[in-house]
Point group: C2
Chain length 198, copies 2
């Protein structure tokens, strides 16, 4: 069964977005932390500019991913990734399929029957690779349902003070995680924690 | 002027203590993360048992400290460190000097006239070394008053879900921090961020 990996940039004080849903402060390291260019691919590609350690981290992580699972807000903010997410088929957990979707030539799918179904469908589409889970609410749902294998946090050197927390509404705490692998970038620290199953 | 360094163990979700003020889950790495013994000194000494990278981190950090600044809660939980804190003279920020204190042969002092006075007194006592600041509330007061030079977080591989947050009630956010130096221990990651002054 393919692994399910939470992937999120977070401020030192635990936020994935500031007030007004602004993600730029925590996501900024993708564009400002160095000179190594990384093209994301997908149908709405971005070019990251990061330090060599962060580039190594991304080159290691991205090829392991075969599908992506997100919530509706992430889908909206990303404007549907141009119809094709860089990591592969995308599954968006939502109450209602948005107007105009699904689209022809798009690999973005919508799941309206809950987190377990969404994870199962993403795993089936991942071709033996891992499922990357993006978005605080979706990650919390996976964690609370015992469906997460790994937490990959890109810890940004910023204090936001308020906003959307990555780890909120958790069930089953305190929860000890496995020892992380650590990659030190420039102004960002990549931490990969195994989730220990009960 | 001697540097003022916040030093705190924190869970991945941002807590320095769980419900009921329990600090053991975040402080546990001091006793369980390896085989290298580190004696803290002071008049109520502890023996830490940590991994080699964490031992190197502590051997680097501790000799740089010449005084300690904490709040009343930390003083109470530590039972006054037996009268002499391992890092040097201790300054406890409080509204009222506790009964029976100050004690003879003790280097624990009490400051009742606010954070700026407390920092100034600790700096004067530090003999050119750094002042270590301990306790979430005291660290927040230093940060908000612009008195902090460095934030040293020992990030423990645990999710607590609730409790006492390290970064709460912050003024002046968003605040970009300097790029951290990173030491990967076992189940704990030592992150040292310079605080950028406005």
């Amino acid at each position: 069964m393919s692994d399910v990996v939470a992937i999120m940039s977070m401020s030192l004080d635990g936020f994935v977005a500031g007030p007004d849903d602004d993600v730029m402060q925590v996501f900024d390291w993708h564009f400002t932390s160095g000179d190594v260019e990384i093209d994301t691919g997908g149908s709405d590609p971005m070019t990251f500019k990061v330090s060599e350690p962060s580039a190594g981290h991304l080159r290691d992580l991205t090829p392991r991913l075969g599908a992506v699972l997100t919530g509706r807000r992430t889908f909206e903010v990303a404007q549907g990734w141009g119809g094709n997410h860089a990591w592969g088929p995308a599954f968006v957990l939502t109450h209602e399929v948005p107007a105009g979707w699904p689209r022809p030539d798009s690999t973005v799918h919508f799941v309206t029957d809950g987190i377990e179904s969404a994870v199962r469908q993403a795993q089936a589409a991942a071709g033996g690779k891992s499922v990357g889970v993006h978005g605080a609410d979706t990650i919390q749902q996976c964690l609370n349902a015992g469906l997460l294998d790994e937490i990959q946090v890109d810890l940004a050197a910023v204090l936001l003070g308020s906003g959307v927390r990555l780890f909120d509404h958790l069930a089953g705490t305190p929860a000890v995680l496995g020892a992380p692998t650590v990659v030190a970038g420039v102004g960002v620290t990549h931490l990969r924690y195994p989730v220990l199953k009960a």
